[in-house]
């Protein structure tokens, strides 16, 4: 006898620090479920893992949610761009994006901000090359990347960590 088709399942996880239980279909994409749950900062840009607009941090690592099933995140911790600000106080990367004119249409911004945060968390004083590597998976059609790169370097500099920070001068 054929096994019964599993119509729905439950997934337990935390999103932006809040424990959640999702009822999902096994084939649901993580991107679709997050948007359904109201995390609109997770953008649908290509559904092919090519543009980076749907990026979240999954256990602190940037991932493309269009390439994952929601069923894969059981027990995980997810951070979306909605979870970065502390109340009205923006995350330093968000603040720097505004200060440096790194936001134009804003569609790719959540993904870039999250990848930048992930970079700075593990590498507080990145070189420009490291920043470009970290943003390399995010296509942006508006900015030419100069101002986003400048913003991430400026956020790193502003963090005033013990070691001397690299200047925020962007060369390309």
């Amino acid at each position: 006898m054929k096994a019964p088709v599993l119509k729905t399942m439950e997934v337990r996880l935390t999103v932006n620090g809040q424990p959640q239980v999702w009822t999902i279909a096994p084939g649901d994409l993580l991107l679709d479920v997050l948007r359904r749950e109201g995390y609109f900062g997770v953008k649908r840009g290509c559904e092919n893992g090519e543009c980076g607009a749907c990026t979240i941090l999954l256990n602190d690592k940037p991932v493309n949610t269009c390439l994952m099933f929601a069923a894969q995140v059981e027990g995980c911790g997810i951070v979306t761009v909605e979870g970065l600000a502390d109340g009205a106080k923006l995350h330093p990367v968000q603040e720097a994006f505004l200060d440096h004119g790194a936001v134009q249409c804003g569609f790719c911004t959540p993904g870039m901000v999250l990848s930048a945060k992930a970079l700075l968390d593990k590498c507080p004083h990145p070189t420009e090359e490291q920043v470009r590597e970290a943003l390399g998976g995010h296509l942006c059609r508006c900015t030419g990347y100069r101002k986003p790169v400048e913003a991430v370097l400026a956020a790193a500099k502003k963090a005033k960590r013990p070691r001397a920070a690299k200047p925020a001068e962007v060369t390309r």
Binding site: K43, R44, E50, A85, H100, Q104, C105, R141, G144
Partner: protein
């Protein structure tokens, strides 16, 4: 004056910045409507076919399908999808749904269903019997006698010559080019080809439509042109305009691709048919071939000069394809002449163009709007001529380019699909853009290409360009302002911020004029129910035209503020000034009231709403100018071109927000870089797209970028608000020719086809080695 400005000219944060960096639900798709259905379009698999029979029974029987439309179910109203002012100069050659399909991706049918999966299944269950017709994909073949006629339907209008697939034809001449060529010491004529570039805005086209409680059709859409959209949808669905409400939320990039009524009509039709909210969102793949592209062109350019480098005559003959429908066909191509040739002060100019239908995906508006093609030809040719004459290209440009006080007479002949208006150059920073760009790239250190050990050679090139700021005599906008109790103002504009920062710039202009801080301006934009008319975001018009309307409205409202304040301060209004949320006497006694006090006085004592609106248009289109310098490295073993540095100096008039203006330059330059080297939608021999995704259609990423230098050369334009012209389009125009010229400087081969692919460079290098023609 500029020293006294407190908001204009400052690098303020975007007024919509916080919601964008925090992931606020700002975009079209960021809502859930109860009962919303998913719409899906069945695209044609054939480039040219007639629908003999279409059987929808299986699809309609699928549980969860609520509406299915074919050409048999909808009104047949010829129209254009081009989001242009009425009467649109583009041919009326498009139908909501038709019994004939004209390119791979053309609409065959549309469904609305309870889930995306059901909609996709339903589409596959539609059985279509096609009579496949011969198709034509190349421009020259489409014009040849005996070619299949793409628009043989009798009810299309405004097509120039349907028998020969010619959507539009343009011929304009000033002076006498033949006489000019006879006077010339050197004449060079070359052919250029340009590719099918895609907009690739990160947010694909998306529309959500529903009938509201009053049975009015509401369309929330990613559009640059909410007002044109409203008018066109009403016409196509045969509804009164008053029954349609278009809302433009935040837009994830447009670049001209959303200056198009693309999904709004079919989404609206499905909403009406199903009685439920319906969303249609293009997938990325659909976006590549079912949306719009830049017009591919074949350009033949001929220029005659004196031995000293003076340009005497220039002639540009263009064959362009608009694909299967003529969206923006004559207007884009008109710009290829009118905004390109007048860069040089030649007394004799001639521009001729055929815009041709092919069974290819449809072209449309795209940043630069015909200019990137034209400047690629012209600036590559000029580089060749300058070298032939032994004149430094920088020097050649400085001698020949348009100057302050010049009158561009070609523009008078080439308006938006009709006679235009002469352009008078009232502000011109072009010479400074050449100088400062040259300094930034280090033009002086330009050296003869010398091979290094690894076979890579370096070179530099340059190109100048201009554009317009709004369409003279056509583009217009309006704005409305009213005061609130706290001394803030609601600013309502029909202008469409598509991500370029219009809401911020318009708020800055209002704040500056009213003498309030930026936080006192609350802007609402792009909603046809609540904001006054605006043609929309295109033709580099928003800052100068919509900004002009905002400034006028703010001046009228300021006058009302001063009247109230004059009664409060017992001083004549002429002696009062506004700044920093205060109104004060300019005499030594300096009495003042706050804007809040004025608001309370007006609203509760004088029983008056301080409010006013204004409309604005220009009879001229002041050109912004730009010079691009490129340094490249060419690998002679592989043909690979690596751009090392792009230095761009641009004259936007006054930069209302310099940081945003720089962002516009850098974004445009990056799109120009892709246009030059990597971007082209490739079709197979049956007209099917081969690379409709971001892996195979390559746009530059942060890792691929060369060094960018951005220089703003500010001038004061008398026709612009606070001296502003425009900036968003002009910097894209010079990138491809500057790179092509740098490649020649490096390795001595002329690249005259875009994109410049490694195999083309390698082939040219091989031909050069074999003594072939260059």
């Amino acid at each position: 004056m500029s020293g006294m400005r407190t908001v204009v000219g400052k690098n303020v944060h975007r007024v919509d910045g916080v919601k964008l960096v925090t992931g606020g639900a700002a975009f079209t798709d960021d809502i859930h409507l109860p009962g919303m259905l998913y719409g899906k379009i069945l695209p044609s698999p054939h480039a040219h076919a007639r629908i003999r029979h279409i059987d929808t029974r299986k699809a309609k029987a699928l549980p969860g399908v609520h509406a299915l439309l074919t050409y048999q179910d909808v009104p047949r109203v010829p129209h254009t999808t081009a989001g242009q002012a009425w009467p649109e100069p583009s041919p009326y050659d498009t139908y909501l749904l038709d019994s004939k399909v004209r390119f791979v991706g053309d609409r065959v049918a549309a469904v609305a269903a309870e889930s995306r999966a059901i909609a996709e299944r339903a589409i596959r269950l539609i059985e279509v019997d096609y009579e496949v017709l011969p198709a034509v994909f190349e421009i020259e073949q489409a014009m040849a006698p005996g070619a299949p006629v793409i628009h043989d339907e009798p009810d299309s209008t405004k097509i120039f010559d349907r028998e020969h697939n010619i959507a539009g034809y343009i011929l304009r001449e000033i002076g006498d080019v033949e006489a000019g060529f006879r006077e010339s010491d050197l004449i060079v004529e070359r052919e250029f080809r340009t590719g099918r570039q895609q907009h690739c805005m990160l947010e694909p086209h998306v529309s959500i439509a529903w009938l509201d409680v009053n049975q009015r059709l509401v369309i929330r859409s990613s559009t640059q042109v909410p007002y044109h959209c409203r008018r066109q949808v009403a016409m196509i669905l045969e509804m009164p305009v008053s029954r349609v409400h278009v809302i433009k939320p935040r837009i994830g990039g447009g670049f001209g691709g959303k200056q198009e009524m693309l999904l709004e009509d079919i989404t609206g039709a499905l909403a009406v048919a199903s009685g439920r909210p319906v969303k249609i969102e293009y997938t990325r793949e659909e976006e590549f071939y079912m949306a719009r592209s830049r017009h591919p062109q074949i350009l033949r350019m001929k220029m005659g000069v004196k031995r000293d480098g003076t340009v005497i005559a220039s002639q540009l003959t263009v064959l362009a394809t608009t694909g299967a429908y003529g969206s923006h066909s004559t207007t884009v191509q008109g710009n290829t002449g009118s905004k390109v040739l007048p860069l040089y002060r030649a007394p004799h100019m001639r521009f001729e163009c055929h815009v041709v239908y092919t069974n290819c995906p449809v072209a449309g508006a795209f940043r630069g709007y015909g200019c990137p093609q034209g400047f690629f030809a012209q600036e590559t040719l000029v580089d060749e001529i300058a070298r032939e004459l032994g004149i430094d290209p920088v020097e050649f440009h400085q001698r020949n380019v348009i100057r302050l006080g010049d009158i561009d007479r070609l523009s008078a002949q080439l308006g938006e699909g009709k006679e235009g208006l002469p352009r008078v150059i009232r502000s011109c920073g072009l010479p400074q853009t050449i100088e400062r760009g040259a300094a930034a790239i280090g033009w002086d250190r330009r050296r003869k290409p010398a091979a290094n050990g690894n076979g890579c050679r370096r070179g530099m090139g340059m190109a100048c360009a201009m554009q317009g700021s709004g369409i003279a005599g056509i583009d217009w906008a309006s704005a409305f302002l009213k005061i609130n109790e706290d001394g803030s103002f609601f600013l309502q504009v029909g202008a469409s911020d598509v991500g370029a920062g219009a809401d911020t710039v318009l708020s800055q202009i209002a704040a500056e004029t009213l003498g309030v801080t930026l936080d006192k301006i609350v802007i609402t934009s792009g909603d046809t129910d609540t904001t006054p008319f605006d043609v929309g975001a295109y033709a580099s018009s928003t800052t100068i035209i919509s900004g002009g309307a905002v400034k006028k409205a703010a001046e009228k409202v300021r006058a009302q503020v001063l009247e109230v304040a004059s009664r409060m301060l017992d001083a004549p209004a002429e002696t009062l000034a506004c700044a920093n949320n205060e109104i004060f006497t300019t005499c030594a006694c300096r009495k003042s009231v706050t804007m809040t006090q004025v608001a309370m006085q007006a609203l509760y004592r004088e029983k008056t709403q301080i409010m006013d609106g204004a409309s604005h248009f220009n009879t001229d289109s002041p050109p912004p100018f730009c010079t691009t310098f490129a340094e490249v490295e060419v690998d002679t073993h592989t043909g690979r071109v690596r751009v090392l540095h792009l230095a761009t100096a641009a004259d936007p008039g006054t930069a209302i927000n310099p940081m945003q203006a720089e962002g516009q330059v850098e974004g445009a330059v990056t799109q120009g870089l892709g246009y030059a080297l990597t971007e082209e939608l490739v079709l197979d021999s049956a007209g099917r797209p081969l690379n409709p995704n971001f892996l195979d259609y390559k746009i530059f990423s942060a890792k691929d970028m060369p060094k960018l230098t951005t220089i703003l050369v500010e001038t004061e334009e008398p026709l612009g608000p606070y001296g502003a012209k425009s900036i968003s389009e002009v910097p894209i125009n010079g990138v491809a020719p500057a790179i092509a010229n740098a490649i020649f400087d490096a390795v001595g081969v002329r690249m005259r086809k875009l994109p410049i692919r490694p195999e083309d460079v390698l082939r040219a290098l091989g031909a050069k080695q074999n003594g072939g023609e260059q």
